[in-house]
């Protein structure tokens, strides 16, 4: 375990992946150092979500390797099953939130703790989620499907926190949500990171994501075209023109 101190917590090395005969990721490499927020920005269909699904073990990689905490979790020949990765701390807040609509808010949150046995730790994390998003506490008995989009996003993040992540991956948390709520959610992400949580954030909202992140990569049609400090990407003319609506 100590060998990983110098290496990034997550290393995606040249992965190739797709669905059927369609190749979506051609050679994607991303690194997420421990304690950082790294963002992956890019347009629709660039392969951002597929990258996260590969890391989570849902979509198999056809070439390349994914290493987490110093161990290979996915390659063309072997893959740690998705449900096993959660217990190792690799947790995803998926695109479109994917909450359980016919479970209550509390039941949804507790599904996040499905693989855990430490009751005290779960109770502590539940309180943490409630302090982060107090609306979830007041709605704890309500069915997940009846929440608004922003509340569902908070629920999805809360549920992920209850999985006790070492690396939290978030897929488009701002999608379809009122700007005011997006600010609240991004504030929460920043706070979680300050407490030491490593975050990989996938976003179409490039400006907000780059302001939040330490490092960033640009994904275009299945290839990483730029990787740099987030502050430098914000000033990069190519990024400004393509993703920030300037230029």
């Amino acid at each position: 375990m100590s060998t990983s101190s110098s290496r990034p917590l997550l290393e995606v090395r040249g992965i190739v992946a797709g669905y059927g005969s369609v190749e979506v990721l051609h050679q994607v490499s991303v690194e997420v150092p421990e304690g950082e927020i790294v963002t992956l920005i890019g347009g629709n269909g660039a392969g951002k979500s597929t990258t996260l699904m590969c890391i989570s073990g849902i979509v198999p990689v056809r070439a390349g390797e994914i290493h987490f905490a110093g161990e290979c979790i996915s390659s063309a020949t072997s893959r740690v099953r998705a449900d096993k990765l959660v217990g190792r701390g690799l947790v995803q807040v998926p695109e479109g939130r994917r909450i359980f609509p016919r479970m209550t808010v509390l039941e949804n949150l507790m599904m996040g703790a499905f693989s855990r046995n430490d009751k005290a730790g779960v109770a502590h994390d539940l309180e943490r989620v409630y302090s982060l998003f107090d609306i979830l506490k007041s709605r704890s008995g309500q069915l997940g499907g009846t929440l608004s989009g922003g509340e569902q996003q908070m629920l999805a993040i809360g549920r992920a926190i209850l999985s006790k992540p070492r690396l939290l991956m978030m897929d488009e948390p701002s999608m379809g949500i009122a700007p005011l709520i997006v600010t609240r959610i991004f504030d929460a992400v920043r706070e979680l990171n300050r407490e030491g949580l490593t975050i990989l954030l996938v976003e179409q909202n490039a400006r907000a994501a780059l302001r939040l992140a330490h490092h960033g990569s640009v994904l275009e049609t299945g290839r990483v075209t730029l990787t740099d400090k987030a502050s430098r990407l914000l000033d990069d003319p190519r990024v400004r023109e393509a993703y920030l609506g300037e230029g």
Partner: protein
Amino acid sequence: MTATEVFLQQVIYGLSNGMIIALVALGYTMVYGIVELINFAHGDVFTLGGFLALTIVGALGAAAVLNPDTLGDSSHWLLLATLVIGAGLFCGGLNVLIDRVVYKPLRSAPKLTQLVAAIGVSFILVNIALFWGGAPMKILGNGNAAAASKNFPEILEGSNLLGEESNVVLRLEDLAIFAVTIPLMIGLTLFVKHTRLGRGMRATAQNPIAAKLMGIDTDRVISATFLIGGFLAGAASVMWSVYNNSISFQMGFRAGMDAFTAAVLGGIGSLPGAMIGGVLIGLIRSLSDGYIETRWTNVVVFGVLILILVFRPSGLLGLKQREKV
């Protein structure tokens, strides 16, 4: 018989048959809820449960077991429990096997492919039942005609529990059906609501990818679902055989049709829906038999189904169209 007595009698028939239909319907609805497959082979798994039960009765030496003089009265209940558990485990295991061998490789194939595969499995099972019926076993009887109905020995004494003078007949079989089906339904409800595996099943039904991201082994959940659905079908087939004193290789077709209708009527995917749908189909059947005419019963049952689907397309307790992201 007075009008009230006729009504009561039909209600007793309807409830008994309805509880059996409900057990089978649960298998349809659970599997649909988890993998969105109409398992057309489910009725035929039910059939094989009946054949296994009859074979067990034969193997135990029916005559000796069924003679109340040689064994205590409780032996009947012991035999019934043996049959329910034996056929339940057999049908559950068979259902898991079918899923592993046929449905699992097709999980991401188009729905039509899966449906055709299920119909194919149904044909295979019907023919296994036919073969089984022709096997040279004394208990199967009825000459060598494989397709003939087989007598299922009377396991429970047949006297009227309401007294010999009563016109309304309530038999021990009716009580046995309630004694078996109601605990199974309550048990299933508690299991799904309160156990870890049950929570995993609900999560998988509501969003399979999210379930995996929660650390749920969805393959195990799917196997468990087929196991439980098959077990309920096996238990139902034993009760059906005991109730009707006869089995045939086609018995699963009728029972499966009724149960599938019940599952749709209650709202496919919903457990309480399948239970309520099953009892309703049983009642509609028996009331139609009693008040209209037996030959019109199928018309009445499916007519009611069509009406409900027109005015409430997702069934009585069904959910609105599942949202897909």
